[in-house]
Every structure is written in C-alpha cells, then in structure tokens.
C-alpha cells in the first residue's frame, strides 16, 4: 500500500508556480497570436450581431467570460468522470445551466441591455469558442490552467467585440456607451451618421480590417506560400 503511494508521489511532477511561463501564455496568447475571433474565426455570429453599441458588446463579453470560466472549471474538475462518448452532451448541460444563470442575472440587474441582447444571451450556449475550449483544453487539463485559459480566450473574444463596437457606434450613431461624442457642430457642418455601420455587413468588414491590421503588425501570422 505504502509502495503505491510512494510511487504515486514519485510520479507527481514538481509543483508548478501559479504564473509559470506556460500559464502566462495561456492568458496572453488568445489576446493576439491565437485570438479566437481573428485567428480561429470562431464566435463570428455574435460578433456581427451585438456590436452595434459598446454597452451591449461589453455586457456580452462579460457574460461570455463568466460562462467560460464556470464551464472550463466544472468540466476540468469532472474530466475524469465524464465518459468520452457522452462528453458533448455533458458539456452542453453545463454550459446551458451557466447561461441560464447569467441570463437571469442580466434580467435582474440590467434589464434594458438584456432586452437588446435578446436571443443572443441564450445563444452563448452554441458559441463555438466555449465548446472549442472545453473540448480542446478543459477536458485534458487541471483546473488552474483551465481557469487561465478561460480568462484568456474570453478576453481575446471580448476585446475584439468591444473594438468593433467602438467603431460601429462611433461612426454609426456618433455615440459611445450611449453618450453623444460627435459634437453638434459637425452635424451642423453637414456631417451625417453612417447608416451602413448599423447593418451587420459592416461588422464583418470591421473584423476584416482588424485582421488586416493585426497581420500587418504581427508578421508571425502571415502564412507562407
């Protein structure tokens, strides 16, 4: 008996520091080099749908962050209990439960934003980024790295969402966070808000321009021909 325990002790890896180089990469990679939206092209639907206003985008990013942390932690803790044949449905149940929680909280505290986000809060369940991280990371890693991975990916998703929303709200409505920032003098001078910015195609084009800038700056991402 004690031999087995000793053997287990011997196999155990030396304790990793909480923010080792590897763990830090989990946090920072999704922000740029491995961004879920601009590099992996996941979660595009919500990036197109709820980036008309910064406030919506921010609430959405926060919701995804909460769901993702919860789901990654729970799946990571349960990873040795989940039979691999039914793992997708188990993941779905976990994510769905968390999304319902988030939805109730939004309805209770920020009802107007919840109304505007409407079906898209529910659709977090089908957000490819969350399923992707659960499948690719949480199922095979311990809780702490999974937690960091969740924060990193949700932040990578969130900053793109907010960047797109800033562009669209600024040019589409002349506002940021609901407050007018384009001075009245501009409008008197003949400036008009760009109606195309409000429409979903412009979100796609904005994401495209962000990808363009990112690849121009980050030469690692340019594929070889």
């Amino acid at each position: 008996m004690s031999e087995v325990a000793e053997a287990a002790e011997a196999v155990k890896e030396p304790k990793e520091p909480l923010f080792s180089k590897k763990n830090k990469k989990l946090l920072t990679d999704p922000l740029n080099d491995d961004n879920p939206i601009t590099i992996q092209v996941l979660g595009i639907c919500s990036a197109l749908a709820i980036t008309v206003q910064v406030k919506q985008a921010f609430v959405m990013a926060l919701s995804v962050l909460v769901v993702m942390i919860g789901a990654n932690l729970i799946v990571s803790w349960m990873r040795n209990l989940i039979p691999s044949r039914v793992r997708i449905i188990v993941q779905l149940v976990i994510v769905a439960a968390l999304v319902i929680l988030v939805d109730q909280v939004l309805k209770a505290f920020v009802y107007d934003v919840s109304k505007q986000l409407s079906v898209f809060v529910g659709l977090i369940i089908t957000n490819c980024i969350i399923m992707g991280r659960l499948e690719a990371f949480a199922l095979g890693n311990k809780a702490w790295p999974s937690f960091l991975d969740a924060i990193g990916n949700a932040a990578g998703y969130g900053w793109i969402l907010i960047a797109v929303a800033v562009v669209r709200e600024l040019f589409g409505s002349g506002k940021l966070w609901g407050y007018q920032v384009v001075p009245d003098a501009f409008y008197e001078f003949g400036y008009f808000n760009n109606g195309l910015m409000i429409l979903p195609p412009m979100a796609l084009i904005t994401v495209g321009i962000i990808i363009w800038i990112q690849r121009a700056k980050n030469t690692k991402l340019i594929e070889e021909h």
Binding site: G190, Y191, G195, M197, I205, W212
Partner: protein, 399 residues
C-alpha cells in the same frame, strides 16, 4: 513639341526616379503620370495565339472613359435643365451647361482625387505600378450619383470602394465587385436620405428655400412608379409630354449620367466598335430585362407591373448599368456561355428587384453586384460542362 517634353522627362526627370535615384520610392507615381502622356515602351508584343491586340490597359481604359463622355456631357446639361425647369424659370442652353458644370465637375474632381490618392499610396507601399483601373471607376462613380450628393460623402465612398472593394483583394484585376457600384452601394446604405427621395435629384433641391414649380415632383420616374399611384405613365406624361421619349432622351431627373439612354447608346456603340465591351452581356442583359418586363405585364398585379416592358429599358439606371458596369471585364463572367447567363440574369433580377421591392427602386445596382459575386460560379460550371462534354467525346472516339 511633345518630343521635346518626352526628351526632357527622359533626361532630366526620370533619373531621379530610377533605381538609385533620389526619389526611387515614388517611381510608380512617376510611371503612372508618364504613361498618361506617352505610349510606354513596354506594351505586350503581338505574339501568342491568345493575344489579339497589343493595346495596353491604359488605352483600353481611356476608350471606356471616352465612351462615357456623351453621358457626362448630357448629364451636365440635364442638371441645369432640370434645375431651371423645377424652378419654373426659362433658361438658355448656356445657362444649363454652366449651372450643370458647376454642380457636376466638383463631384468628378473629388472622385478622381480621392480614388487616385488611394491608388498612388498603395502602389508606393506595395512597390508596384499604379494600375489604370481607377480611370474608369473615377468617372463611373460621379455618373451614377445624384447631383446633390455632398462632396465629402463622394470622397468617403470612393476611398471605401477602392480600399475594401479592390485593394484588399490585390488591386486592379483582382476585385470581385465592381468598384463604382461598391461606392454607390456604400452611399445607398450609409446615407439613404441622400440617395433617394425627391430632393437630391435636382440641382439645388436640398435647399430649404427652393420651391418646385407646379407639376414638377423632383422624384425620379422609378420612385413615382413605386408609389403605384394609378395611371402613373399618364401622370408622368402630363409632366413630361411623351414619357417614353423623354426617358429615352433623358429629359428627366435621375443620377447624373444615367438619364439619357440615347447618350449611353452612343457610348455603347464606341465600346462595341472597339471591341472593349462585350456585346454578349449587353444583348442578353437587355433580353433578360425585357423578358422579366413581359412576365410582369402578364401577371399585372399592380400598377408598376403594368408598365410596358420596353419602358423598363429606358427608366432608371438600367441602360447605364448594363452598358458600362455589367461589361466590366474584371468582374463579369469570362466564358462566352457564362456571359450570356450572367447578362441575362442581371437584366432579369434587376427588373425583378425594381418592381418587387419599393425600397430599392434601383434594382440594377444590386443585381449587378449580386451577379458579380456569382460570376466565378457560373464560369466554374460552364468549364466543368465543357470538360465533361469533351471527355464524353473522347470516350466515344475511343470506343
């Protein structure tokens, strides 16, 4: 004289831009301007079975610009004519032309200025030569816009269209969508109040103080038709005399260059004689529109559907789109069979959108953009069908 200028350029100016010169970085800009003035020394040789003609791209583009000149000149005159007509004042030919020139030429200048600035910037960054494609786009953009469009909007749309519509795909020859129509679509969706209604089509119409004379509505014929007021042809006829004839000659409000089907036909003749525009696309486009018009006549569910099919050919931007935009060699189908399908569907869909959707009276723009996207697909199937047919023939011969 021109030889002297050429020698001066070659001896004193060009060395600065050549490799090793002070201004080497700006060689593309120099090259673009020089070939404007002189035939370059590096045209394609006439050898090779697929080369029919050694004409270089700049001459091709200039021919298209020349073909648009009748429409431009008529547009300038008509701008003045509509302005004084709406005010109920009498005007001479020169009044019309002067007023129109003051209104139209700034739009042309802004369009060229903004577009060429983007082209030159990209050429210098990417170290390639300035492509000539924008010569045509820069003229198409003003011709398909309402005369009252603010100049900064023209600049914004042009920059958007050249960068997003063309440069991101790799510049002239690589674009999927027609650049000029991208600019127009941008304006149409971004600033709808400046692209429709009854104020923007007539010079000075957006001025609050302007009062239209009796009988003049300021709306385009298409806009009037979509309102579906009964007997619209007759009502329009009261304003214009003979509606069909006026619409054919272009004495009606509309985008600057598209009102006169007659002027556009002169341009079409130039394109066809020089072999630059595809007659297959033009012919099948007109056929497609006519067939759709006849189908609507048979259906006849509302006033607009009852409009005789041949009226559709002279209303709105149909003629302009089919002659100058659908035939854009970059965005159209490349195969011969594909051209027939492509042109037919542009006419067919254009009239369908025009009649079905009152919000988009200018269906031709959307139809051409849609078919631009579909053109590679059409080509793919045409080529696959050809491969299949020849394989079959090979097998029969072998058997």
């Amino acid at each position: 004289m021109s030889n002297a200028i050429h020698n001066f350029l070659e001896k004193n100016v060009k060395p600065n831009f050549d490799a090793g010169g002070k201004l080497e970085k700006y060689y593309p800009a120099y090259d673009a301007l020089e070939t404007f003035l002189f035939v370059p020394g590096h045209t394609t040789s006439g050898k090779g079975s697929h080369i029919r003609d050694g004409i270089d791209m700049k001459r091709t583009m200039i021919m298209v610009v020349l073909a648009m000149v009748p429409a431009l000149l008529f547009g300038i005159w008509n701008t003045g004519y509509q302005h004084f007509l709406a005010l109920g004042e009498t005007s001479t030919f020169m009044d019309n032309v002067l007023y129109g020139a003051l209104k139209v030429l700034p739009i042309v200048v802004v369009s060229y200025g903004a577009g060429l600035a983007v082209e030159f910037t990209f050429a210098i960054i990417n170290k390639h030569q300035v492509n000539e494609g924008f010569l045509v786009s820069g003229m198409l953009i003003p011709l398909c816009l309402p005369v009252e469009i603010p100049l900064w909007m023209v600049a914004a749309a042009t920059i958007f269209a050249v960068i997003i519509g063309k440069e991101v795909f790799g510049g002239t020859g690589m674009n999927i969508l027609n650049v000029a129509l991208t600019a127009r679509a941008f304006l149409f969706f971004a600033y709808p109040t400046w692209m429709s209604g009854d104020k923007v089509w007539i010079g000075g119409g957006t001025d609050q103080a302007v009062q239209y004379a009796d009988g003049s509505t300021g709306a385009t014929l298409l806009a009037q038709a979509t309102e579906k007021s009964s007997g619209f042809i007759n009502a329009a006829g009261a304003q214009y005399g003979d509606t069909f004839w006026d619409a054919f000659m272009g004495f009606i409000p509309g985008s600057i260059g598209e009102t006169s089907t007659f002027a556009i036909l002169i341009g079409a003749a130039i394109l066809l004689i020089t072999g630059i525009g595809s007659w297959k696309i033009m012919l099948s486009g007109v056929l497609g529109a006519y067939v759709m018009g006849l189908l609507f006549n048979m259906w006849g569910a509302n006033e607009f559907m009852m409009v005789p099919a041949h009226y559709h050919l002279v209303f709105g931007g149909f003629a302009f789109g089919i002659v100058f935009m659908a035939t854009d060699p970059v965005t159209a189908s490349q195969t011969a069979t594909g051209k027939y399908i492509y042109g037919f569907l542009i006419g067919f869909l254009g009239i369908m959108i025009r009649v079905f959707n009152p919000a988009y009276p200018e269906g031709i723009m959307l139809a051409i953009l849609f078919m631009n996207v579909m053109a590679p697909l059409i080509d793919h199937y045409v080529i696959q069908a050809n491969v299949k047919r020849r394989n079959k023939r090979l097998q029969t011969v072998a058997a």
